[in-house]
């Protein structure tokens, strides 16, 4: 059963952009100075273009993409804070355009907490419960539970304005997780959170999915996607460029592997000769004391290993260790975006 259906959503914004077409008048330059006097015009910016996908009940769905690719805009449309210019999306069958009030009872977001400058975390969360129609007695219980879950119990009675970025992230996540909803829309939920807490919070998100709740996760942290998501949507320049599971995405982007080699008694310039071969797609070398930590991305591991052995033998180097691994999602994503960029450049040319 589909929990979220997104059908051909497009969103445009109007924004003022500086233009170099016309020279500002002497009067403007006199008043505002040269830098501020630049002429501006209103331009239409495409935030999302024909985005479609579905998310099943109990799935964790990741939205990945570089900055400005439209991840947050997409989440805000699903959260009914923004209206799409074209298309529609359905949360548990209700349209975000026509039935926003019904959708709002089914969703929970981590980007909506409203806090007064003098409120403590506990007060902010209790107020958030009230705005989301949770009864007072239940709210107290839920707030205590979620504060414990995100590791803020001991600092729950401190003023939120004094919280660090990581603590604010935890509080935002808490505001979302404490509500019992069908769909959780999370924007960068683990940003700035320390690794130990992040690990526990990943477990909490996974538990929500096991309970049959749907989670949509917009993030730049590829590790979160790799570890949490059942399906990933990659946005690039406002369009969907891939919609797969992380595993399939890694495989479809390129059948290549990573070779990690630690070497000693060898100069890095010798290893750079490897880049002359077409089989070596990428090479990175880090020197630590007298060791060379090398990462080679290749589509022919055996040939690269032979080449490497020849080079080491010839230059009287020493191999300390070799490890062969599948590429991580980060490599796959970079490769995908590179290809997309090359394709668009060719099209433009």
């Amino acid at each position: 059963m589909e929990s979220i259906v997104v059908e051909n959503i497009s969103k445009y914004f109007w924004a003022r952009v500086t233009t170099s077409e016309s020279k500002p008048s002497w009067f403007k330059r006199l008043i505002f100075g040269n830098s501020l006097a630049k002429e501006v015009r209103v331009a239409r910016i495409t935030a999302l273009k024909s985005v479609s996908f579905t998310v099943g009940k109990g799935e964790i769905f990741g939205i990945l993409g570089p900055n400005g690719s439209g991840k947050t805009t997409l989440l805000k449309i699903l959260a009914t804070a923004l209206l799409p210019d074209e298309g529609d999306a359905y949360i548990c069958g209700y349209s975000v355009v026509k039935e926003a009030s019904k959708v709002r009872k089914l969703i929970s977001t981590n980007f909506s907490l409203i806090v007064n400058s003098f409120w403590t975390a506990r007060q902010a969360l209790e107020y958030w419960c009230t705005l989301n129609n949770v009864d007072s007695a239940e709210a107290v219980h839920k707030v205590n539970e979620v504060l414990d879950e995100v590791g803020l119990s001991e600092r729950a009675d401190e003023i939120v304005a004094r919280y660090s970025m990581g603590m604010q992230s935890r509080l935002f996540l808490a505001s979302s997780l404490m509500l019992d909803r069908e769909v959780y829309l999370l924007d960068e939920p683990l940003l700035g959170i320390d690794p130990i807490a992040a690990k526990e919070l990943r477990e909490t998100i996974k538990r929500k999915a096991r309970e049959g709740k749907t989670v949509v996760l917009a993030t730049n942290l590829i590790r979160d996607v790799e570890e949490l998501c059942d399906k990933v949507c990659v946005l690039y320049r406002s369009r969907v460029v891939a919609l797969e599971s992380p595993e399939v995405l890694k495989k479809t982007i390129g059948a290549y592997e990573c070779v990690y080699v630690t070497l000693s008694s060898l100069d890095s310039s010798v290893l750079l000769k490897l880049t002359d071969f077409n089989e070596v797609l990428d090479l990175s070398i880090v020197r630590q004391d007298n060791l060379l930590e090398t990462k080679i991305i290749t589509n022919d591991t055996i040939k690269v290993l032979y080449l490497l052995l020849d080079l080491v033998k010839l230059n009287k180097g020493k191999i300390i260790s070799i490890k062969i691994a599948e590429p991580i999602l980060e490599d796959a994503l970079i490769e995908l975006l590179k290809k997309r960029c090359e394709y668009e450049n060719r099209e433009t040319a």
């Binding site: 804070a81 926003a100 980007f111 909506s112 003098f118 009230t130 129609n133 304005a161 604010q168």
Partner: protein, 283 residues
């Protein structure tokens, strides 16, 4: 249950704002001092200069005339400005965007903000009236008419809120007006403070300013408060009362229609400022 929940949401907002008012308690003291000094200056002006008083048609001495006008006006200016300020703040501080993702109507946010902004202006109005009587012997009219005179500012506040809703509606519906809104609101506030009869009778104004003055519910309210305190309710007052209600209804109805359409427009346009971190209701 639904109403109880609604009232609770508004009450939490109002209570937290009251808390902020008490954090800045010295501001209240300075405000009171400012009011007393303001009345004192009028008192000494009237004491040492001969005043040709048109105010006598209202049956009051000039000082009482001015104090009543300023006290009523402090409530009315808040009524006109608070709704617009609530929508403006909610838009620019992004609380509007955030509340749109919850089952709570954004009107709850606006109403809570409006109620809390009345608290300081009630204190101001009461201070004007009390300081006038205690320190300067002001006489506002007959005590037997106090009930009617008190209900008129309440009605006036409701009608003037309509102007605020109208301006807030314009703010939401037109991005062009949004950029000019602070400038427009400052002009309107200035006009309403000066030309709606708070400091001098509207009768002495040139005809073209008088026409503008009578567009504002404030003019009828201030006039009615003065007349009803001295003469009670009579035929003249009832005509003015009808005009007040009609002007209030006019602005309210158009304002609500604009606001409803405008909120949808804002969801279409998006929110202009980049945002990350906590949204503060008050700063």
């Amino acid at each position: 249950m639904k109403i109880e929940r609604l009232l609770k949401k508004i009450a939490i907002m109002v209570l937290s704002d009251i808390r902020v008012v008490f954090i800045y308690q010295y501001d209240i003291l300075f405000q009171v001092l400012n009011i007393i000094i303001g009345i004192a200056s009028y008192y000494f002006i009237f004491k040492y200069f001969v005043v040709q008083s048109t105010a006598s048609i209202y049956g009051q001495d000039p000082l009482s005339f001015i104090i009543l006008g300023m006290a009523t006006n402090s409530l009315l200016i808040t009524a006109m400005h608070s709704f617009y300020a609530a929508v403006n703040n909610a838009y620019y501080r992004r609380t509007l965007e955030k509340i749109l993702t919850t089952p709570t109507s954004p009107y709850v946010l606006f109403i809570g903000s409006v109620i809390s902004s009345f608290l300081p202006s009630i204190v101001t109005a009461v201070t004007y009236l009390a300081a006038g009587v205690v320190f300067f012997g002001a006489n506002y009219g007959s005590l037997s008419n106090a009930g009617i005179a008190l209900s008129i500012p309440a009605l006036g506040v409701l009608c003037t809120l309509g102007v605020g809703v109208f301006v807030a509606g314009m703010f939401c519906i037109s991005p062009m007006f949004r950029q000019l809104s602070n400038f427009v609101m400052t002009l309107v506030n200035l006009f309403a403070t000066t030309f709606t009869g708070a400091l001098f009778p509207v009768e002495i104004l040139p005809w073209w300013i008088k026409i503008l003055s009578y567009l504002f519910p404030q003019t009828y309210t201030i006039e009615l408060v003065r007349l009803s305190l001295v003469y009670g309710l009579n035929a003249v007052n009832l005509t003015e009362l009808t005009k007040l209600i009609l002007s209030g209804l006019f602005f309210s109805i158009i304002g609500v229609i604009l606001l409803k359409k405008g909120l949808n427009n804002i969801r279409k346009e998006g929110f202009v400022l980049p945002e990350k971190g906590i949204t503060l209701i008050l700063s």
